[in-house]
Symmetry: C2
Subunit: 330 residues, 2 copies
DNA sequence: TTGAAAGCGCTAACAC
DNA sequence: GTGTTAGCGCTTTCAA
C-alpha cells in the first residue's frame, strides 16, 4: 500500500480510502490511485485489515456431510445468500456424530470466522450449555427448546405429520420408518419419529414399533440395509417413511429389486425434497423443508447478530410443503 | 497473548513458542503457560499470525456447483484431504459459466488463500494466459495442454472410450450423446465428446451427429429435456451416453416414463460414479474417475507448491474404472 | 531456555 | 479532501 501511495503521490490513508469506497475523495485523486493500484497489481492484504478491524468477513457453516445431497444443496444456498451480504463461507464437516459435532463447536477458530451457522444432527437439550456464545451463531434445522441462540428451523413436526397423514389417507396403516436413532432423545431423528408416532396416534392407529428401523447415518446405503432387514422380518407393511430422502431412495431400490410394486404394494415417502427425488424411478413423494428460505433467513439473522444486535433470540420456522409424486400417487 | 504472558509470568515470546510447539522449552514453563491459556480462555488471533507470516492455512476450491452431486462428493474428499495437512478449505462456486470462471480466477483474494484448487468446466487453451501464476494453483479434472500449472486430471478420454466400447460390445451402434457443448473447442464436454467420436470411428462406426444433444448445465433436468428432444426427433437409438451421471439419470427417468426398457431397448451409461448411480432404478453403468485419489493428489501437489517447490509442473492422470451395472447389463 | 524490540499492512482518530 | 500518528497481535531477530 505504501508503494501504491508513493507511485500515486498520495498518502497511504488516501489509498485506503479509495479501496474502501470512502466518498469524499476528489475524482482526479481516485482515478490516479486506481491507476497506480492497477499498474502495480496491488491486492489489499485482508489479514492486515482483519487484524485492525477484528472482523474477517468469513462465516462458518458446520454441516454433517457435504456429500449428502441435502447438505450440498443447503451449502449452495447458504453460499449464495452469504454472497449477497459480501460474506464468504467456510464449510466444516462434522460427520453427523454427536461427539464430533461438539468438537467442531468448541474448536478454537482463532477469530477466523465472524459468525457460525450450525446444523447439528445429534445435539440436543443437554448440550445447550456447550453452545459457546462468544461468536454469533445461528442454528439451522434443528429445534432445541429454550436455547439462548437463534434458530431457523425446519418444520419437522408439521412436515412429518403431513407426510404420515397423506399415507393414512391412502389407506395405509402399516407404515414402516427408516432411520430412527434408538435411545436418542433429541435431534432430527427423534423429532421426526415422534411426529410420525403422534400422527398415527391422532388417527387412532397403533404405533407399530416392530416397523421402526434404525440407521445411524442417513445414506442411501443405510436406507437399503434397513429395508432389507425390514423385509427379512416377514412383517407386513404397506408404506415406508424414510426420515430423509436418501434413506427413502435406498428403500425404493431394495423394494424394486425384491419385486414390490411402488406405490401399489408399498408407498414410499421421504423428507428434504432433494433434486434427485424429481428424477428417481418412481419419483418420490417428499416434504420440502424450504431450503432456500432457511439459508436466506439464517444468513440475515446472523448478519444482524454480527452487527451487534443483541435483542431476544429468534426462532423462525420455515414453511414446509408436501410434494406428492409417483411413489405414493401411482 | 500479553495477558497470558503476564498471567503465567513469562514473556509473550514464550507463549508464542508454546502455542507453536517449539521444542526447547522447559516442561514446567510449558505447563504453566498452558494452564494460563486455559484459565483465560485464550485463542490465538490467526489474522495477526497471518499478517506476520504471510500465510493463512486456507486453500481455495473453485468448483461449478456444490449442489451437483459430483462436486459435493469432490468437495467432501478435498476437505478431508486438506484436513490431513492442517489446511482449511474455502469453497467458491463458479456456476460452470466460462465468464464467471474467469472472474473467479482473477478475483483478488487479498492473500486470503495460500493456494487454489481449480476445477474449470469451460476453460481451455485460449485462457491459459489468464492463469494467474502468483498464487500456487492446481487444476482439477480438466486437461489443458501445455499450461504452466499443475494438473490432476480425470482420464476423460480413456474413461469415455471404455464406456463407448462397452456399448459397442453389447452390439449397440446408434449411441446418442447428451450434454455436448456445440462450438466449444475445449472443456470437459468437448473432450468427452471427442473421445466418444474417436471410439466409434476406431470401430468403424459412423459418428451419428443427429444423435448429439446439447445441454449447457449438466443437471438431471437438462438431461431429461435433452432426452425428450431426442425422442421427439423420431431417430432410432439403442444407447445413450450421458456426459455425466446426472444427465444420464435424467435420461433414465424420461426413457422409463416413455416406456422404453433399460437396457433391452436402450442401454444407458454415465460418467462420475456418484453414489446415486448405485441406487437408481436401474443402477447406472458409469465411469469412476477416481475422486478420492484426485483430491488427495491435488492437495499434496498444492502443498508442495505452497512450500515453494518450483520444479517442472506435473500432470497426474488418475486411473478410471468402468462400473458395469443394470443400465447396460440387464 | 527465555526476554526485548521491531515491524508485518492496515485503519481510526485527529490534524491540517 | 488529504496527511500523520499510533497500534491491532503476532513472530522474528538478537541478546541475555
Amino acid at each position: 500500500m505504501r508503494d501504491v501511495a508513493r507511485h500515486a503521490g498520495v498518502s497511504p490513508k488516501t489509498v485506503s480510502n479509495v479501496m474502501n469506497g470512502y466518498p469524499y475523495i476528489r475524482e482526479a485523486t481516485r482515478t490516479k490511485v486506481l491507476a497506480s493500484i492497477d499498474a502495480l497489481g496491488y491486492q489489499m492484504n485482508i489479514s492486515a485489515r482483519n487484524l485492525k478491524s477484528g472482523r474477517t468477513g468469513i462465516i462458518g457453516l458446520a454441516i454433517p456431510e457435504l456429500s449428502l445431497p441435502y447438505f450440498g444443496e443447503l451449502a449452495d444456498a447458504v453460499i449464495e445468500a452469504a454472497d449477497e451480504h459480501g460474506l464468504t463461507v467456510m464449510i466444516e464437516q462434522t460427520g453427523a456424530d454427536r461427539d464430533r459435532e461438539l468438537t467442531v463447536l468448541n474448536r478454537p477458530r482463532g477469530h477466523l470466522v465472524d459468525g457460525l451457522l450450525y446444523s447439528p444432527l445429534g445435539l440436543g437439550q443437554d448440550d445447550i450449555g456447550q453452545l459457546n456464545t462468544n461468536t454469533p451463531m445461528v442454528l439451522l434445522g434443528e429445534r432445541i427448546f429454550h436455547s439462548p441462540v437463534d434458530h431457523v428451523m425446519i418444520d419437522n413436526v408439521g412436515g412429518t405429520k403431513a407426510a404420515v397423514e397423506h399415507l393414512l389417507q391412502l389407506g395405509r396403516r402399516r407404515i414402516a420408518v427408516l432411520g430412527v436413532h434408538p435411545g436418542e432423545k433429541v435431534g432430527t431423528a427423534s423429532i421426526r419419529y415422534g411426529a410420525y408416532a403422534s400422527a398415527l396416534t391422532d388417527h387412532g392407529v397403533r404405533v407399530p414399533e416392530e416397523l421402526a428401523f434404525p440407521a445411524g447415518r442417513w445414506h442411501r446405503s443405510t436406507g437399503a440395509e434397513a429395508t432389507e432387514r425390514l423385509i427379512a422380518t416377514g412383517e407386513k407393511f404397506d408404506a415406508i417413511l424414510g426420515l430423509n430422502d436418501t434413506l427413502a431412495l435406498g428403500a425404493v431400490r431394495v423394494l424394486t429389486r425384491h419385486g414390490y410394486r411402488i406405490p401399489d404394494d408399498v408407498a414410499v415417502v421421504g423428507f428434504d425434497n432433494i433434486d434427485e427425488t424429481l428424477y428417481s424411478t418412481p419419483t418420490l413423494t417428499t416434504v420440502d423443508p424450504g431450503r432456500t428460505q432457511i439459508a436466506r433467513n439464517a444468513v440475515e439473522l446472523l448478519v444482524k447478530r454480527m452487527a451487534g444486535d443483541d435483542s431476544e433470540h429468534e426462532e423462525i420456522v420455515a414453511p414446509y410443503q408436501l410434494h406428492i409424486r409417483e411413489s405414493t400417487a401411482g
